[in-house]
Subunit: 210 residues, 2 copies
């Protein structure tokens, strides 16, 4: 485990530990992808899945990513989970508890079988069990959706957890301090208005947790 | 309302409507900021608050943003709320329900009174009511925290909501379809381990909603 990456020193609370990186990535499904077009940065949210030592980035509706990759732009990808608000005794020490991963590198637009498989990997990562219930993508559907593969070689995680860290002189001054926990929760699945009657909600949706 | 911005045509489901943009920004507090350093994009999560026609971006622990702004890099900022997973009858039409805003522009590093005030605006936006309970920042604390102001002139929103939109021939094939709602919820506030006894949890934390 190193505290340096090719892109410089890791920040406070940073780690390149792959177990930490993988756990954070596997809990999420939306990333923010940044690329450069005409010397300007562009950041957009999109779906992703981790696939071993890579992330697979879904490029539908966000064709800018594929275009940027084709033009040679490197990518920077962030995945962030917010676990709470850190309510310190001062504004200065107030913060958020979070777990985030940032990945840098050159993306690769997948083609052929790798492309088709990657789309399935993303569906199965989003909703484990779903893939068995749906028909395979058609060739045309695969073509309309790009997937960019990005290696985790240059990835690092940052984690902030626990109590606020206040200055000695602010403790015991009658000001409340602590953490307001925040989490993402799934509600009851809502059947589509065009769903035929008598179809049960799949178990994998009722058990859904991130 | 236009479907174009200086950075090109708006994507599907895009709008530059400021009421939509403001509502999405006001519900969040974590953004992803992208900038360019040595022709490479960098994206990082940080705290922000909307302040009228601007967003104020918190630069502590993320000095890269301030450095990039000083070197002339434009910024791209995204705020994204995930409202659900769209469980379509095919992988192709599966998606997420979300509301997102993307802002482009040159940031400005705040100084003097604007800087001190901006830090207070961020604290109050994070936890409305909190500012009255804490002491003012010291001059040294203000200096250790940079705030970047970015205009909302070049901002747009994207919203996807409601049912999956499946192809005619896939409807009625016995495959469940619908939406799995997701939301961020606040839990019970956790007092800091160094909190003196007998202090009540502030009402603004018990009522906290985003």
């Amino acid at each position: 485990m190193s505290d340096k990456t090719k892109f410089g020193r890791l920040p406070d609370r940073g780690t390149t530990n792959r177990e930490t990186v993988d756990a954070i990535l596997d809990e999420g499904f939306v990333c923010h992808v940044a690329y450069v077009i005409e010397d300007r940065p562009v950041v957009i949210p999109t779906l992703y899945a981790r696939d071993g030592d890579d992330v697979l980035i879904h490029g539908s509706n966000t064709m800018g990513i594929a275009k940027a990759v084709r033009q040679g732009s490197p990518l920077s990808v962030a995945v962030t989970h917010i676990d709470g608000l850190v309510i310190a005794r001062t504004g200065f020490h107030s913060s958020a508890n979070y777990r985030s991963v940032v990945i840098h590198g050159k993306g690769e637009i997948l083609e052929g079988d790798e492309h088709a498989r990657a789309l399935d990997v993303i569906v199965e990562a989003l909703v484990p069990g779903r893939l068995d219930d749906i028909r395979p993508n058609t060739t045309s559907e695969v073509k309309q959706t790009s997937v960019i593969r990005l290696s985790l070689d240059e990835s690092s995680a940052k984690v902030r957890e626990g109590d606020p860290i206040d200055d000695e002189e602010d403790i015991g001054t009658g000001v409340w301090a602590g953490v307001l926990p925040l989490s993402q929760v799934a509600g009851e699945p809502i059947p589509s208005s065009d769903l035929e009657e008598g179809l049960d909600t799949p178990d994998y949706l009722r058990r859904y947790q991130r």
